[in-house]
């Protein structure tokens, strides 16, 4: 397990823009690594580990459960946790904007950032979470494209989520996004501990 050199937990800040999100991470630039001061996630190895698919989201208050994503690629993994209610959720969005396929968005709102954030908050409220208490952790959003102005789903996913959270006054606590890496994101419901794994590297990060 590799721990970050960051000292202690990050101070939550109000996120209004991608620039704010990067300041929140304490590192300048989108391909930032943000690490909190949580203890190593021993608990993640124990108990049931439930993986969601692309475009899916899951919420739970089962303290023994770990929720995780499939490899995210340019998709965005989001973990949201209410430490007071001890409930949380995980979500794997593929694309930023639901206008590309309205029928798909209706059937599976988690596929898109704009419809998925509503579905995630609704589901979390349903099991006792309060949105303003939620701590958001992000992973994925690999940025494979160079800067030739072509569609870059990783960057667009990230930007869309930052705007969606900022509009609601919701806070990003930490993230490991961007770059070329292919990652998975995991949330231990009992502790709120968040883990990011990078495919093909012997590296795990505790967010």
């Amino acid at each position: 397990m590799q721990r970050s050199s960051a000292d202690g937990p990050l101070e939550p800040v109000m996120v209004q823009s991608p620039e704010d999100a990067c300041r929140c991470a304490g590192i300048n630039g989108f391909a930032a690594l943000a690490v909190g001061g949580k203890p190593a996630p021993r608990d993640i190895a124990a108990g049931e580990h439930r993986l969601i698919g692309v475009g899916e989201l899951a919420v739970s208050g089962d303290a023994s459960l770990t929720l995780g994503t499939q490899p995210l690629g340019a998709g965005l993994g989001v973990a949201a946790y209410d430490a007071e209610a001890r409930v949380g959720g995980i979500w794997h969005a593929l694309l930023p904007d639901s206008t590309v396929d309205a029928a798909r968005a209706a059937a599976q709102p988690g596929m898109f950032v704009d419809t998925g954030i509503l579905a995630l908050l609704h589901a979390l409220r349903g099991i006792g979470a309060r949105p303003l208490r939620l701590q958001f952790h992000l992973a994925g959003a690999a940025q494979i494209m160079d800067a030739t102005g072509c569609f870059d789903p990783g960057r667009h996913n990230f930007e869309a989520l930052v705007v969606a959270l900022g509009r609601r006054g919701l806070q990003i606590r930490a993230m490991e996004t961007g770059g070329f890496a292919n990652r998975t994101l995991h949330l231990h419901v009992g502790s709120g501990c968040v883990l990011v794994k990078t495919i093909g590297r012997l590296k795990e990060t505790v967010l």
Partner: protein, 285 residues
């Protein structure tokens, strides 16, 4: 003889040639497809025929009456579906050995290759290019890695250092460490296997589609297929660190950046059903 052909001659392991595919591609490319010739070609490979009939009678097709022979299978499923089944089955054999040299396991290479095949096919259908050739080129685009991986284990650490520390692309790193590149090796191998020139070029230039001259459109379809697979998280090993996405392919095909989200969704949807169809482990059995 070119030194890379020489390298292929000397290499310890060569994947099994998907012998049926080049001739089948040729047959299906003609305006009047000769059904009996298609059946005859596939029958030549007994294991392939048995697997194909097993698929036709699997729950996926949910048919009340079982398919008894190949002719019936071709009639019932149609040429295109039969072709993709044959390509998938042959591809699974060619891509089967362990590729430890690239930090990937067998299942990841297969999943990546099928995703690129599906995406390249969708791109080709969208742009009016040959979807069968695009599918096959996508499926076999990394076959060169199967050849290189055998000699790679000792040089592996160095290759990854090149990619990670020097921010080299995978092709640059391969050239620096091994003196050869997986895309070119793959292209040369497919040429030896008598695949059509368009398919050879599409694999050879799948990282540089603009250099494929007359076959730049097909190479672009594979290039975009590869990108889409990585967008979907269907990369493997260290490859994602080594890929540099450029917009050339989008321009060559006359697509717009806006087309990509839709193609990503379609690829994801089709991959899901293909995965169910192939049931990865049994396909390789």
């Amino acid at each position: 003889m070119n030194e890379l052909d020489d390298y292929i001659q000397r290499v310890k392991y060569l994947p099994p040639a998907p012998r049926v595919l080049p001739q089948l591609l040729l047959l299906l490319g003609k305006p009047d497809i000769d059904s009996s010739r298609v059946v005859e070609l596939i029958t030549y490979d007994a294991a392939l025929t048995a697997n194909l009939l097993r698929f036709c009678n699997s729950a996926y097709f949910a048919s009340a009456t079982p398919v008894a022979d190949l002719e019936e299978a071709v009639n019932r499923l149609g040429f295109q579906l039969v072709y993709r089944l044959v390509a998938g089955l042959s591809g699974a054999r060619a891509l089967a050995p362990q590729q430890k040299g690239y930090g990937m396991d067998e299942g990841q290479l297969w999943r990546h290759s099928v995703t690129v095949a599906v995406a390249a096919q969708l791109v080709a259908e969208e742009t009016g290019d040959d979807a069968n050739v695009a599918f096959t080129a996508g499926l076999l685009h990394d076959i060169g890695k199967v050849v290189l991986a055998g000699g790679l284990e000792s040089a592996y650490t160095k290759l990854i250092e090149e990619v990670n520390d020097r921010q080299h692309s995978l092709l640059e790193a391969e050239k620096a460490v091994l003196g050869v590149q997986h895309a070119e090796i793959g292209g040369r191998l497919l040429a030896r296997w008598k695949f059509p020139a368009s398919l050879v070029a599409a694999v050879w230039f799948h990282h540089h589609p603009a250099a494929a001259d007359a076959h730049a459109r097909l190479a672009s379809a594979v290039y975009l297929g590869n990108l889409i697979a990585h967008f979907l998280g269907h990369g493997y090993g260290h490859q994602p660190f080594a890929l540099r996405g450029r917009a050339d392919a989008v321009r060559i095909l006359g697509l717009r950046g806006d087309d990509l989200p839709r193609l990503m969704l379609q690829t994801w949807e089709q991959y899901d059903s293909i995965e169910a169809l192939f049931d990865v482990q049994s396909a390789r059995g």
